[in-house]
Point group: C2
Chain length 304, copies 2
């Protein structure tokens, strides 16, 4: 199967600690990198994880709280210092242009590439970007300010050719694309080999979603049905449920409920409050509702 | 002697690496903290070094290149999250207000303290701030954009009272301030004890200067005569002297020459180009001219 994984660069919340920096992660889909959120320290984490700047063309910001975007200027400056020439796209809510453009104009004045900001309607589920391999959608979230998640849908691939059948019927290379597209094969003797015999089904298309920051939002599950991996914030444990509601964050159990209602395959929780010196309690609570839960951590890569 | 030290939070240059972040340091003078430069990651380094946010009231920016100021927004936001109420002063060149105020207004809108920006005339040596213990001056530097260093001059303290004399002459506590201010003491028997006998001289007032970023600038030595500790950038080794001149940076030997011409007691070199995996060559070259040189490093604290 082609690469589809997520590397957590940071999974802390408002106050960075010596254990966790703010929110940032990189989604690798078929070796194209998509960054989601960009907290202070992201570019250093990016390098620590030996990711390749030239493969990164899109940065998606969930919202304009500092722990999700204060690394953006550093990242953009560094891209320029690395001699990048291809444009980079920054996606974020209303005000992303107004808040970042003056600093971009000042600090990246000599940048040999364009920094294109796309303001996202965070109240809508809508297709923002697609290429040959992926579609990326905004997911409306419920936070103190405009905020959205991002859904990454791998596009269905083509069936696999059975190498043993290629050999058995001596099928020329020139026919492979036709067969992948569904054609049968007619041998020199006029025998028709049906497509089903020549191929095995395409790998199932996979889905990943990033949902942070958000209050408990049951309607989210509607967009996430059957998702392979869900990253959902779990800022608080259950005994801070009131505090979670007040600050428009979720508890670990609420995150797990979204995963369960989405029939997700796996859940990764993150955006931990700095009050937890050990997030074991969050993991334990989430697993009572959704057993296939793991804890985010800096430098963790999860295959989707 | 009262505390006067410098903690290096970051001593890298334009490209942060896994070894060095951009420029930032904290000068502790009698337990008041002054930050000089504020690169991305500064607030995390600040906490790692167990420094106390409430003791920090001034941040001095040398110039507006990202590796000297991209941590400012994160630092200011964190101060607000910690419930700070006292104002904070940010000193920097022309444009500091224009470039940072929009983000301060947006991200620190609910901050319960004022963020006061003082724009510094970087072309002048002038007194910017003083309190009971210190005077802080701008030092004109020569860089690609407006840039200045900062000179910290401890104010002369008072003489020390000799405890053995207090006991011998049974001098009441009420007289101590007078004696420290230079008065003699007259005993009950009318004997006059001269001040010199009652006191030992005040500790010598100490000086520290931060000079980064700058091309080799011989005139600097004029302001730094007899300085206790000089921090001077040494971005390059001697074989990159042309590159240093071109980018308005210094070599290690040039930094050492400034220290020598200033009759400095010690030199700390920093702002290392990311090309050096080991800065030994810079140290070696500097020491051929000024033996009392040390290398900056993250989390190093140097007593002035």
């Amino acid at each position: 199967m082609k690469t589809f994984n997520v590397t957590i660069l940071g999974c802390g919340s408002a106050l960075p600690t010596t254990r966790h920096i703010g929110a940032s992660q990189v989604v690798n889909i078929h070796d194209k990198l998509f960054m989601v959120d960009c907290s202070e320290g992201t570019q250093i984490q990016f390098r620590k994880n030996k990711l390749t700047f030239s493969r990164l063309n899109h940065v998606f910001l969930s919202h304009l709280h500092g722990d999700h975007c204060f690394g953006l200027m550093g990242l953009l400056s560094t891209l320029a210092l690395y001699g990048r020439t291809s444009d980079i796209h920054v996606w974020g809510p209303t005000d992303t242009e107004r808040i970042f453009r003056p600093q971009i104009d000042y600090f990246c004045a000599k940048s040999p590439f364009n920094i294109i900001i796309h303001e996202v309607d965070t109240s809508q589920y809508s297709l923002l970007h697609e290429d040959r391999t992926v579609e990326i959608y905004s997911l409306p979230l419920k936070h103190r300010i405009e905020c959205c998640g991002y859904l990454f849908k791998e596009k269905p691939g083509l069936p696999h050719i059975r190498r043993d059948m290629l050999d058995a019927y001596n099928i020329p290379i020139s026919q492979i694309n036709n067969i992948k597209a569904g054609a049968d094969y007619t041998t020199e003797d006029g025998e028709i080999i049906p497509n089903e015999k020549l191929t095995t089904p395409a790998d199932p298309a996979r889905m990943y979603a990033y949902c942070s920051d958000t209050a408990y939002l049951p309607s989210l599950a509607h967009y996430l049905q059957g998702i392979d991996l869900l990253y959902h914030e779990a800022t608080f444990a259950e005994n801070n449920k009131a505090r979670a509601a007040e600050t428009f964050h979720s508890t670990a159990k609420q995150a797990a409920t979204i995963a369960k209602d989405s029939h997700a395959k796996r859940l990764c929780i993150g955006h931990f409050s700095s009050r937890y010196k050990d997030e074991g309690i969050l993991l334990e609570e989430a697993r009572t509702i959704f057993p296939d839960t793991i804890l985010a951590n800096e430098n963790l890569t999860i295959t989707v």
